[in-house]
């Protein structure tokens, strides 16, 4: 039995199974399980051959098919006195296929509706705020209360202005990268050091800002090859060595 394989056609294992049953023109109430299982497995192998990732769900249904196939091989024993005995092992599968087809049909119906509804157009809701603008809120105050409030306001403003007249606002000087580079170089020179760890450098820095500036300064110095930086392991100690070309003259202001 030949059949065409279209890889991207199937939405799931049932979709594939229904397709196989229909193309082989089988009666859904009399599925030839052996033939269908073989086709189903061939299809999965084809998918694997084409390197398509086969969803585990396809395997689950394959297992179900094989189980039914093996049950069909066993003689069906009807216990004495029990009418009918065990049902057809295919019954449950048929029920599931019918259920699936029912919803596939519903999906097709919805698709048609969706298309039909494209002919019906609506106006998007417009900005209705011009119609619903809230009226201004009025303060419920008598003139004396209002005058008192205004007076208080003037008084406060006057006080603030008086203070401002006599004082200037000062910002704390923040460390700059240029300054920090100079200070690190000075440190190396003063103590005639060859090596220093990052921990030692930031030991006295109390703020995060200064620690970050120190780190960025080191990056800048490393870029200019003024220093060599080594870190043996992740999160390990960073060792800073002074490079051969060390010297203030090499550090350009950026």
């Amino acid at each position: 039995m030949s059949y065409k394989v279209k890889i991207d056609l199937f939405e799931g294992p049932f979709d594939l199974l229904v397709y196989l049953i229909e193309t082989s023109e089988m009666n859904i109430y009399d599925i030839q399980v052996a033939a269908i299982t073989r086709q189903y497995m061939d299809y999965i192998q084809e998918m694997q051959r084409l390197d398509v990732e086969v969803a585990t769900e396809f395997m689950v249904l394959a297992a179900v098919l094989i189980e039914i196939k093996s049950k069909m091989l066993l003689p069906r024993i009807k216990p004495e006195g029990v009418a009918g005995g065990e049902g057809d092992p295919r019954d449950e599968l048929v029920e599931r296929i019918l259920e699936y087809k029912r919803f596939k049909r519903a999906a097709a119906l919805l698709e048609d509706r969706q298309e039909a509804m494209e002919a019906v157009l609506e106006k998007p809701k417009e900005d209705l705020s011009p119609y619903t603008k809230e009226p201004d809120e009025y303060l419920n105050l008598d003139i004396r209360q209002f005058a008192a409030a205004f007076h208080l306001f003037l008084h406060k403003r006057k006080k603030v202005e008086e203070i401002r007249k006599n004082y200037a606002r000062v910002e704390r000087q923040r460390m700059t990268i240029e300054d920090r580079i100079q200070s690190i170089l000075r440190l190396f020179r003063q103590k005639a050091l060859k090596k220093i760890t990052f921990r030692q450098l930031v030991e006295e820095e109390d703020t995060r800002f200064n620690r970050v500036v120190t780190f960025v300064s080191l990056l800048e110095m490393a870029r200019q090859r003024v220093i060599k930086v080594k870190q043996q392991e992740t999160f390990g100690e960073i060792v800073i060595g002074i490079g051969e070309e060390a010297g203030e003259k090499k550090v350009h202001d950026q």
Binding site: G12, T23, K101, Q114, V120
Partner: protein, 193 residues
Amino acid sequence: MTSKKTIKSAFESLMFVWGEPLDVKTAAELFNISNKEAYDYFAELKEEYDREGRGIRIREINKSFQLVTSSENVEYIERLCTPVREKRLSQQALEVLAIVAYRQPVTKGEIEAIRGIRCDRVLEGLMKRDLVQEAGRSSAIGRPILYGTTDAFLKHFGFQNLKELPDIEDIAGVMNLEEPEEGVETGQLTIEF
């Protein structure tokens, strides 16, 4: 007491200004009339528009009413301009949506059992498009989330309410769904039943 004629005329204006589906309850409150009365007025208006074959029609979505264009005129509208359209739903999305619509309230597990494949992402997409919403929790083990359809779903597919969903339970219809040229033996079916 405002006259019926005035109220109906007012409803027409309200729908025009509102654009979106106008809730019957909201409209009823404006005139201090019962929801039933308001609903009947809207339904009458809708009927009048249909009978006169107007270019504007009234559509009902779950006890809300909205002015829309007549589907017959879409061709002429397209001559004038290109209306912005929502992206159509994929086959997968339609399948999941169909199961939610017919089986609601339904858990993800139940949907997956019918389709035989996972549907997390499809369901997520449907929720994002506001076609599906959470509808409480099942009392089953693990209290899984239940899903149901929204009013936007009704609007998207042009249903007034869920009762309008076409019947899919008749099996003969199911059997005829697939390409008829493939010759599905309906004859054998009559033997079965």
